[in-house]
């Protein structure tokens, strides 16, 4: 039977026959499996929740619709304001996405941090 690393260390350290069913004996030796240093990049999965946009326009639109029984022709001004706000928000988001360096901004996104780390880490 091939001796897996844990069993091998047990055999070396304690000098007694340890079966896999017995519980581990304290202290358990530390085994360095991954390198003990930080990576030069961070996870880009957690995007960080963006604040809700166009809430005021939405609220105004809702009040208008409620008072007019959801008749859209009456609320055309509010609707166009709401849609304009949304398209502006989308354009801003596109621009922020393209900004790879994030120079001058207080908060950096994870992608921007990665760019910097790649450039300056050794």
């Amino acid at each position: 039977m091939r001796i897996w690393p844990p069993l091998a260390t047990f055999a070396q350290g304690y000098g007694r026959k340890v079966k896999a069913r017995t519980p581990a004996l304290e202290p358990i030796p530390f085994q360095e499996r991954l390198p003990l240093k930080l990576k030069s990049q961070i996870s880009t999965k957690k995007e960080g929740s963006e604040g809700a946009s166009c809430l005021q326009e939405m609220a105004v639109l809702f009040t208008c619709l409620k008072s007019n029984e959801f008749n859209q022709t009456v609320c055309s001004k509010e609707i166009s304001a709401f849609q304009k706000c949304f398209s502006d928000h989308k354009a801003k988001r596109e621009e922020m996405k393209k900004d790879t360096t994030g120079i001058g901004s207080k908060k950096l996104t994870s992608k921007q941090v990665n760019v910097l780390l790649k450039k300056y880490s050794r």
């Binding site: 929740s49 963006e50 604040g51 809700a52 946009s53 166009c54 809430l55 939405m58 609220a59 639109l61 809702f62 619709l65 409620k66 959801f70 859209q72 609707i79 709401f82 849609q83 706000c85 949304f86 989308k90 393209k98 790879t100």
Partner: protein, 240 residues
């Protein structure tokens, strides 16, 4: 460096002429992004111009000389310069199409428009002469356009998960996405019928109702808006 100058020429032409966006990545690299996303063509290929009025305009402004130098995608069979072409309706025909049977989809939609026209003419002739002056027989394409405008939602509910619970949050919707939703609702409503009723008849009825701002599809949109209004509190919790 003749190769370099031709590349810069291409880039400058594209920037001026087509829907491509140019993104400056570094000082030297320029990434050309076309509007189409998944395509067998390279991204810098432009869409064909096939309408006579657009072509004439291009000849007048002299834009045709520049566009002639840029590589162009092939025109699809639906890209005709015919009188009966409607850019608005062809998207709907694509949504009606199943299993790539474009011919059948086109037939259905055209039959539906025929039915719309016939019902209008019938209505017109059944009116007394003094009321005939006020009644206008509208082009079915135009009626369909109006129907879509009446049916497009302004905002939709998206499910957002917070703390293990799925909330329906009202969110603003893109114009294109709203149009696609409208198409879907029309098709759904036209499918929900008795066995003996034909799809194109039901579709014609739905379009005429929607153009009048009544009927089933408009009701669906109104219900969605009402639900959004009922859930407006969730939108305030910074979820967007």
């Amino acid at each position: 460096m003749s190769g370099m100058s031709s590349l810069t020429k291409l880039i400058s032409t594209l920037a001026r002429v087509s829907d491509t966006k140019l993104v400056l990545l570094n000082h030297s690299n320029v990434q050309i992004i076309s509007s189409a996303k998944m395509s067998q063509y390279p991204k810098y290929f432009i869409d064909p111009t096939f309408r006579n009025d657009e072509l004439n305009a291009m000849y007048e402004t002299g834009e045709v000389k520049e566009k002639a130098l840029v590589p162009c995608r092939a025109a699809l069979t639906e890209h005709t310069s015919s009188e009966f072409y409607s850019s608005f309706t062809r998207k709907f025909i694509n949504h009606v199409m199943r299993k790539g049977n474009k011919q059948l989809a086109r037939e259905i939609v055209e039959k539906a428009f025929e039915v719309i026209k016939k019902t209008q003419i019938q209505k017109f002739h059944s009116l007394p002469p003094e009321k005939k002056v006020d009644f206008a027989i509208r082009d079915p394409h135009e009626l369909f356009h109006q129907a879509i405008i009446n049916v497009k939602p302004i905002m939709v509910l998206t499910p957002i998960k917070r703390g293990g619970v799925r909330y329906q949050v009202p969110v603003p919707v893109d114009d294109v996405q709203a149009t696609i939703l409208a198409y879907k609702w029309f098709i759904e409503a036209s499918k929900d019928k008795e066995r003996t009723v034909r799809f194109y008849n039901k579709l014609a009825k739905e379009i005429m109702d929607a153009a009048n701002n009544t009927g089933r599809v408009v009701k669906k949109k109104l219900d969605l808006h009402k639900q959004c209004e009922a859930n407006r509190a969730y939108a305030h919790y910074r979820w967007n």
